[in-house]
């Protein structure tokens, strides 16, 4: 590529689940190294956008460029080496050792999806150390806590050596301490490896504190994108979520005529 431009560029992207449309012409332009918070009401297409980027779901129309090339023209194995996907929750039916979960991150790099060289192992263990789950290596990942499991999957993204991380509501359901530890790990890794992070969240405060850029979606379309300061306005949020927001300093709250405090901070 002569002009690298944006790392991820979507124009009029559409996708659907069977007959239900999920993306209806999404636009996004994301440069390498950004931390992008993707905000929007339930069903606005946030998770779907991540799934299309992760190639879990095929787009039905529009353009999606990754590093200047249409994403679906690149062999899957190749994009899997560069893009890591951390789903919101993983329902583990069969027992699997946490170390083996992390080793799966090496699968796209190995021959025939086998990851068992000493290098694979070392990278998996290093990643687990970085995410503070080294001690869980031999434990069954279906029998550890949700917060621990989230960090095991984060370690996997690290072992995958991907330059883009797609995180679907990574902090949902974590208690304050685990939430803090998780975000600190994420921040450290982002600082060390300059990873581009796309993060779906419902926490507007987290977006404001953590992200360098916000992508605001509604009905499968982009209604605003850009630096937090520009996009996170009471007007934009009210439009995106269909309920009146008001600013209080850098925070936002939703008014309520029912709740005792008269407002709620989302």
């Amino acid at each position: 590529m002569n002009d690298p431009g944006f790392l991820i560029e979507a124009r009029g992207l559409t996708a659907d689940y069977g007959r239900t449309p999920a993306l209806a012409g999404l636009d996004a332009a994301i440069s390498a190294g950004e931390v992008v918070a993707i905000l929007g009401e339930n069903g606005s297409g946030k998770s779907t956008f991540l799934k299309v980027l992760a190639r879990v779901l095929a787009a039905s129309g529009g353009t999606l460029l990754f590093d200047g090339r249409p994403l679906d023209s690149v062999p899957r194995r190749q994009t899997a080496r560069r893009i890591a996907y951390v789903p919101q929750s993983v329902d583990l039916v069969f027992p699997i050792r946490s170390l083996d979960v992390v080793l799966q991150g090496r699968a796209p790099h190995g021959r025939g999806f086998v990851a068992e060289t000493p290098t694979d192992r070392r990278q998996a263990l290093d990643a687990m150390r970085a995410c503070d789950v080294e001690g869980l290596a031999d434990r069954d990942a279906s029998a550890i806590s949700g917060g621990e499991r989230r960090r095991v999957f984060l370690a996997r993204a690290l072992a995958q050596e991907a330059e883009v991380w797609l995180l679907d509501e990574p902090t949902a359901g974590l208690d304050p301490r685990h939430r803090l530890e998780f975000l600190e790990t994420l921040w450290r890794v982002h600082g060390e490896r300059k990873t581009t992070i796309l993060l779906v969240t419902h926490e507007i405060g987290l977006a404001a504190d953590f992200a360098s850029m916000v992508l605001l979606l509604k009905g499968g379309k982009t209604i605003a994108q850009g630096p937090c300061g520009q996009v996170l306005t009471a007007e934009n949020l009210s439009r995106a979520f269909g309920t009146p927001f008001q600013a209080r300093g850098r925070r936002f709250e939703v008014r309520s005529g029912v709740l005792p405090g008269g407002s709620l901070e989302p």
Binding site: V56, A80, V93, P95, D100, P108, G112, V114
Partner: protein, 328 residues
């Protein structure tokens, strides 16, 4: 729960499985309506030796058939469980075996030569898997409850088809239909063993080659896709290979249930869920189980022979109930 570490430990596990199969085969060889002494067979003189050789020529092909059929069914079940991330998947419960039997029965009814029956059974099995999988799709994904219901529907449909074929058929053909419905290893011949072996080998090689991909599937289909696996292609290959194994087993031994459910669970509990260990070990353990079950069917109420399917169902049905209770 043990998690095998390396290629060496996988090879060790495989060797243990192979030894187990040989031991079971030796025991199965000597039990039955008449006890067969290995010593007589080897020293082989006089009337005792004659008798031993005659029994051996009947029992050996039967034991080989039991091993091949058990290996095929268990391997197919193990691969389907990983692919569908579903511990209840089994070629019998998902209607694949029923489809295979109906396919073979239709071919027999149409007057096709018995040589065609594995191909017809494979087509029936493949049609059944595709039908059941598409019935179970909901919003682009396979739904666990729908999958089991779809298997139930397929089984009801195929048994109706077999019963209809049974009532139309007469004489020898009717007996054949009954054989496919009930499952039996009694008609084993060296020729049948030789005909089944290539199908078993091809199916097994394909599935074992898919083991690393199936490891990613056993965490979830989306998981496999995000790690670069072409999931649609993998699903097609695994479904076809599992149908090939099931079709071949049913063509030569009829419908024998629960082997594909039972064996992978036992192996997983001992050796963990790494498909590179689980698949080959399930093949060996399935072979051992069916050889043992067949010996029990011959010996338990001798000279009356129990249907082999009754023994596998007696073991498999309680396990199925237990798994169902544990499934959230």
């Amino acid at each position: 729960m043990k998690f095998p570490e390396s290629r060496a430990s996988r090879a060790r596990a495989f060797a243990v499985g192979l030894l187990l199969l040989l031991a079971v085969a030796l025991v199965a060889f000597s039990v039955g309506g008449v006890r067969l002494s290995i010593a007589d067979l080897l020293s082989g003189r006089g009337e005792a030796g004659e008798m031993a050789r005659m029994l051996a020529s009947i029992r050996a092909p039967r034991i080989l058939l039991a091993a091949l059929v058990g290996g095929c069914l268990a391997l197919a079940g193990a691969a389907l469980q990983a692919l569908l991330k579903n511990p209840l998947a089994d070629p019998f419960l998902l209607g694949t075996s029923g489809g295979a039997a109906a396919g073979a029965a239709c071919a027999a009814l149409a007057g096709a030569s018995p040589l065609v029956s594995p191909a017809a059974a494979f087509l029936g099995a493949a049609a059944a898997s595709v039908g059941v999988a598409s019935l179970a799709m909901r919003g682009g994904r396979l739904d666990l409850q729908r999958l089991l219901l779809a298997g139930l529907i397929a089984n009801a449909f195929f048994s109706a088809l077999l019963l209809a074929a049974f009532s139309i058929a007469s004489g020898e053909a009717a007996r054949t239909m009954l054989f496919w419905m009930m499952g039996s290893l009694a008609d084993a011949t060296p020729g049948k063993d030789a005909a089944l072996a290539p199908y078993a080998l091809v199916g097994a090689v394909i599935l074992v080659a898919m083991a690393a991909r199936l490891n990613l599937f056993s965490v979830g289909e989306e998981n496999a896709a995000a790690l670069g696996v072409d999931i649609e292609r993998t699903k097609r290959i695994v479904f076809l290979a599992a149908s090939l194994l099931t079709g071949a087993a049913v063509a030569f031994a009829g419908v024998i249930g629960f082997v594909g459910l039972l064996v992978p669970h036992a192996v997983r509990a001992i050796a963990g869920n790494d498909q590179r260990t689980l698949l080959p070990l399930s093949g060996l353990a399935g072979a051992s189980l069916l050889v043992a079950a067949d010996a029990a069917s011959r010996a338990a109420l001798a000279p009356v022979e129990l249907p082999i399917g009754a023994i596998t169902a007696a073991l498999g049905a309680p396990l199925f109930a237990w798994l169902l209770l544990r499934t959230p």
